[in-house]
Amino acid sequence: MACFLVPMTEAIVMTVVQKVVEKKEKKAGVETVTSADGYRMEKLPFSKKIGWLNKLLWGGSALLAFEHLWHGEIVPFFPFLTAASEGPEAVSEMLGEMGTVGVSMAALITVVWLGMLLVTSLMQKKALKAIPAAE
């Protein structure tokens, strides 16, 4: 009914967080990591990694919003949510769906993103170890 509003809300919050982190990183300068042999590499900024989450959330929300428009669950005029004009029962059903399906969508995307962080961190460590051997 309007489940995509939950990941969209997360996207709005995380976009603000990304901007704040970006500002802090600019002030702090470029972070580098050093391998065992003293090889220095630029570290991927955390703001960029938050950007991955935002792109997933915004991308998914945009396409799901279209799907909801397709099914007549949202309309391009006030009150925008069809359930809002159908009475309290429909609103309660919509909120229930947002609380279950919507929250699960946001949670799954966040879990996938956390997995991406873990994998990229391991890949980064592996790459740093491989540098002296490759030279």
Partner: protein, 105 residues
């Protein structure tokens, strides 16, 4: 069906994106994020529907399947429009800028 179309679109664009690396001139990453984000969200939707309908979820009526396919293709078209807008606005190859601003000798 919409989930399936979206997943296939995500897989194809990701494969093309990977093949074209490190060249990022076509901004294919935008399409990957759009399709993967939507696929994950529709996966959750599908799980909830499966929990409700059971095995019947995998045997939809022909009319519903056609409608879902039509929706899936429309979603792909919308995603490609978003990607094209991003590509033309960011203009990594400077094609649009080149057309708008002519160099004077």
């Amino acid at each position: 069906m919409t989930l399936l179309v979206s997943v296939f679109a995500a897989l194809i664009t990701t494969a093309i994106w990977y093949k074209r690396q490190p060249d990022n001139e076509m901004k294919l990453g935008v399409l990957c994020w759009l399709f993967w984000g939507a696929s994950l969200m529709w996966l959750v939707d599908a799980i909830f529907e499966y929990a409700e309908a059971g095995a019947e979820y995998f045997a939809p009526a022909l009319k519903d399947m056609a409608n879902d396919l039509f929706l899936g293709l429309s979603v792909v078209a919308l995603a490609m429009i978003i990607w094209l807008i991003v590509l033309l606005i960011t203009d990594p190859k400077g094609v649009v800028k080149g057309k708008l601003l002519k160099k004077k000798q």
